[in-house]
């Protein structure tokens, strides 16, 4: 039985649900942006936690464009002295679990309190035939790293991921 992801009654961020192509611009979403050798990922939402969840969706979408089923849950935690370092730590925690468990994750729930992040990831083992995974993320970098809030109060979190 899977612990069904809930956060304030909202669905968790899903790697197959949304990106910037929908109009008008959603309050939460993710996108990829270009980098010469690697790939840029950006997530946004009403809180830093939601932006982090969305960015993790972008990370998964760099590997597969297929649906990832929430068959099992993995918990991670990390801490860092500021939100930007915490963001890179969060992505690297997800990358570590992907690599170690040979899994892909499609749904994410994040809570941040006092520089401590608790994350829950829902996913399934890589199925090469179905997921047709492309590049394997090696690590999140501090290049093009930005976590901030725009004038409408929307938080975004972005960086380059080495693939």
């Amino acid at each position: 039985m899977i612990d069904t992801p809930t956060k304030s009654g909202a669905l968790p961020a899903s790697a197959t649900r949304s990106n910037r192509s929908s109009a008008p611009a959603p309050r939460a979403g993710w996108e990829h942006f270009a980098h010469d050798a690697d790939i840029g990922i950006r997530g946004w939402g009403r809180t830093p936690a939601e932006a982090f969840e969305q960015a993790a969706c972008a990370l998964t979408a760099a590997v597969t464009q297929e649906t990832v089923i929430a068959r099992s849950k993995v918990c991670v935690s990390c801490s860092a002295p500021d939100l930007e370092l915490l963001f890179v730590d969060w992505l690297n925690a997800v990358i570590y679990e992907m690599a170690l468990r040979r899994m892909l994750f499609g749904q994410f729930a994040v809570q941040i309190e006092d520089g401590q992040l608790q994350g829950r990831l829902w996913g399934e083992p890589v199925d090469v035939a179905r997921h047709a995974p492309s590049a394997e993320p090696k690590g999140a970098t501090y290049t093009a790293l930005k976590v901030g809030q725009d004038s409408d109060g929307i938080w975004s979190a972005a960086c380059i991921v080495d693939v």
Partner: protein, 476 residues
Amino acid sequence: MEISRVVQIDPTAWRLEPSGAMRVPVVIYADQGLLQGMDDKVIEQATNVATLPGIVRGSYVMPDGHWGYGFPIGGVAAFDPDQGGVVSAGGVGFDISCGVRTMLTGLTVSDIMPVQKRLADSLFRQIPAGVGSTGAITLDAIDMEAMLAGGAHWAIERGLGDETDLDRIEEGGRMAGARPDCVSDRAKERQREEMGTLGSGNHYLEVQAVVEIFDSTVAGVFGIAKDRVVVTIHCGSRGLGHQIGTEFLKEMVVAAGERGIVLPDRELACAPINSEVGQRYLGAMRAATNCALANREILGHYARRVFTHFFPNAALSILFDVSHNTCKVETHLVEAKRRELFVHRKGATRAFGPGHESLPAALRAVGQPVLIGGSMGTGSYILVGDARSEAQAFSSACHGAGRALSRHAALRQWSGRKIIDELAAQGILIRSPSSRGVAEEAPGAYKDVGAVVAAAEHAGLARRVARLRPLICVKG
């Protein structure tokens, strides 16, 4: 890049004099077309590198330079520990000791063609490649320590390589100064089932035909001739290297912040070579180098096994195995004095010229083989180190073609299936678990590797010996 930002020295050398916090000039080796094709971020990143403590002589960019993270890809920088020099985890990158090995098969194209398809299928079955793949080897704690200390020697002791290979692998197949105790349990855990796996992205195993010889004397010494077939493997230290890079980057960023050091880019996080964290990183990085050397030795062994099945007399001897994401201690001549420097090459190949003491006896007279990976369609090159490169860039050269288009842009432009079919029509068989991965690595997404190596030759970094064309490409 706007070329007015740099001063042209000659047709393939451009210079930006130090200003502000820069300690040394930036020197870019490229022809005008390659320079114009480089992102503005390349010079920004090379300029940032030029500000690091203890940097010696210059912040160099090779002809395949492109926007990386921290250092540009194609970046070379040497640091003197006695002048406060630093070691940078970002200057080595996540894929520590990623590199290339080329093996001679002794076969000709006409030997391969009748079995090309079966050989491609067999290599694809035998070489674990792509996201989620696992190797046939699982390391326990004792084996892990032995592998991290022993490199290719460890693989050979396990029956996964050949003693005669060691002479043709950098560092004799084992990087000295490795400290497995400096590698975290998480990094070791990430590597437990990854030995003998190719990885994904731009990593590959190719069967290649020699299609053009530029220098027949050196080609003779290397054992290559037109229509001969070689096997080339491009991969690195897998999950272990990625995790070490991740952990030390964070440690160095936090430590810099605590010491009040302002980094122009956090990815440049570094520590003095003569510091506790600097030494710990070097110990871990060298262990990761051994992991990469062991991994390529095992993949070479698998390739041998497949070739022996089709060609019982094929021996597959190594031409050379060279890494292009490294920090190595080397002696260089600076203002007529020999100095021991820590040379970072991030997407750049060591390229020792003729006579260098570290080269195996059979190659010493001509220089080090410099192996340049191109794209699946356009092919690759074998170069040889040029004595002039010592003065140009601490004996360094390019490492590949360099991307012209991002993965993002490549995906919008090409379909993997179409590329596989088009290349098959040209006699190049692609085997990959991911058609999207193939699209991201489309030949058109890369710069003209011919222009890159011509610029490297003109600049005195390395000379062309042979051009290779793929017959089979196994991609992760």
